[in-house]
Symmetry: C2
Subunit: 336 residues, 2 copies
């Protein structure tokens, strides 16, 4: 579903959604200024997406259901964004990786706020080239494009924007006190529910684009996770004991991401950092940071103005960490 055809299909869907009664193909075609054949084709495509649309002679069409697949129609029907356009939301069934598609879109010039969403990734990637499991229908696997006008050395600020945005979206949906572990792990019940992979394309003096790949564990049951992950990862369904309406949750997340991004652009990093600090569980804790050339143990003291985590070791020496794996020591001596 692309371009103008996608926009028209969305409009037809929204008319069907608004109308509690039957509406004729003729009226739809008049309202939207397209042929009745076009209307019929779009209705057919909506049916293929899983919508039951009843057609009664002389009365017209009526929509009988909503669909719980990740569909542009579902996500955008009630989406309220300020600058980001609904038209730049793309939904897919199975893809290799939403980041690969989003990077291609970004290289082609697609704007900020372009979202690539899939039911399944066959080659989902996590940080540092690790695999990221993205089974069909269980999670929300998506990537989106940002084009901040900042120097590339400040790119790590964007990971804070993304984590507070996603945190707010999940909080709004679940009502739960979602936590953030530095740099951008999103936790519920001390277990990971979201993975974030931020990729940057840049020159030395400007960012061409940022593509953030997000994996949200939504409707997995405990047995859907491999045994070695069951202590570390969880899903929103497990935490809330309810099936998650992924389209609604994703809508909330898109809206909150945009809000936080606008806050960042208009008010700067300090504002984002203060929101992040309220919800983080890293600062003030004993941590172990493993970077590619060192291991640091000490107290997570603060985030500096560049977004670095400052760790004070037992000799009182301060270390700055920009990224890497940071584990928190639990009271029982184990690590989150």
């Amino acid at each position: 579903m692309k371009g103008a055809a996608g926009v028209m299909r969305q409009k037809i869907f929204e008319i069907l959604l608004e109308e509690s009664d039957y509406i004729s193909g003729e009226e739809i075609s008049e309202r939207l200024g397209v042929s009745r054949t076009a209307v019929w084709k779009h209705i057919k495509a909506l049916k293929e997406d899983g919508y039951q649309i009843e057609a009664v002679p002389r009365k017209g069409y009526t929509l009988k259901n909503r669909v719980d697949k990740l569909l542009k129609t579902e996500i955008t029907a009630e989406l309220q964004t300020i600058k980001w356009s609904k038209d730049n939301i793309y939904t897919y069934g199975s893809v290799d990786s939403t980041n690969i598609i989003a990077k291609k879109f970004a290289a082609e010039g697609k704007p900020e706020g372009t979202f690539v969403i899939a039911e399944e990734q066959t080659k989902g990637k996590g940080r540092m080239g690790r695999d990221w499991s993205s089974p069909y229908g269980k999670g929300i696997w998506f990537s989106f494009i940002l084009r901040p006008e900042i120097l590339p050395v400040r790119a790590s600020e964007i990971t804070f924007v993304i984590s507070v945005g996603i945190r707010e979206g999940i909080k709004r949906y679940t009502g739960k006190d979602v936590k953030i572990k530095w740099p951008n792990d999103i936790l519920l019940d001390q277990k990971k529910i979201v993975g974030i992979l931020t990729e940057i394309s840049a020159e030395i003096e400007r960012i061409n684009y940022i593509v953030a790949g997000i994996g949200i564990n939504a409707n997995q049951d405990l047995e859907d996770f491999p045994e070695e992950l069951q202590q570390k990862a969880t899903s929103l369904k497990i935490c809330t004991s309810k099936e998650i309406d992924r389209n609604k949750l994703l809508r909330f997340i898109i809206e909150e991401l945009e809000k936080m991004y606008i806050t960042y652009v208009e008010k700067g990093f300090a504002e984002i950092l203060s929101i992040w600090e309220k919800h983080n569980i890293t600062l003030g804790k004993r941590v172990k940071a493993v970077t590619f050339d060192s291991e640091i143990n000490g107290l997570a003291e603060k985030i500096d103005e560049q977004g670095y985590l400052v760790i004070k070791d037992d000799q009182g020496k301060e270390h700055k960490v920009v990224a890497g794996d940071v584990s928190l020591r639990r009271e029982d001596g184990s690590y989150i």
Copy 2:
């Protein structure tokens, strides 16, 4: 000319180059363990590249000329690299942009030291999305891949490595005292002879790859430059009053780039910076720095350990600049 076929063609060319006398197709086929038909096909391809290869019955083949097109055969025949493989050098006639091809290669996993070289770019790009003129046969337009194991926040260090490497290559070929203007303009006679565009693909905590696009003004005459550039840009031919052997120059540059890169990896940034400082014309001068959100006038004081240029303004305040346009005030008040 790609992969195994390219390697074989190169070997046949090098045999012809070594042999002062005729050499039979049979002997070539025996030495290299390929069929005589294959030998004949490669000879034919070499002729299409512009080589005159005389074939005399019962005597064999002999090479009558060298070719001044940018050809893999010419560049690599005498190339002496340490880690970078000759097999990863790709030459083309006209391309849209060598950076686009090199980025595609990098995303596919091609290694460090992969070079993409063209006679002409139809969509050559400079920094900040500016156009870069790359007319057919006049310059050396190329891009190459690096994969340094450093944090992305240190990427600007690589621009120093690249500028000293290119500077050494041109120095070795011309014997002239080539200068560097911060961050990475290469100058002869106070005019620009090289443009460098460094593009980075990264996560927050690691670099996937760097692609550096290089444009060297080699054989342009003054009238080849648009009038508005004649005061700012020049070519090696204009500066040396000699036609430039572009293949030889590029060979020197590849060798010196590799040397500097190995120095950087093994000895660190400080070593590169001290070489850079010897040849730079920025430090100690009055400069005007225009970044995307400010203009700073003052004394170019030093490069700090992160590669930032430190400018002290007339109030004694220090400003750090990571990139941007920095102009030097000449004695007559004009700017380089």
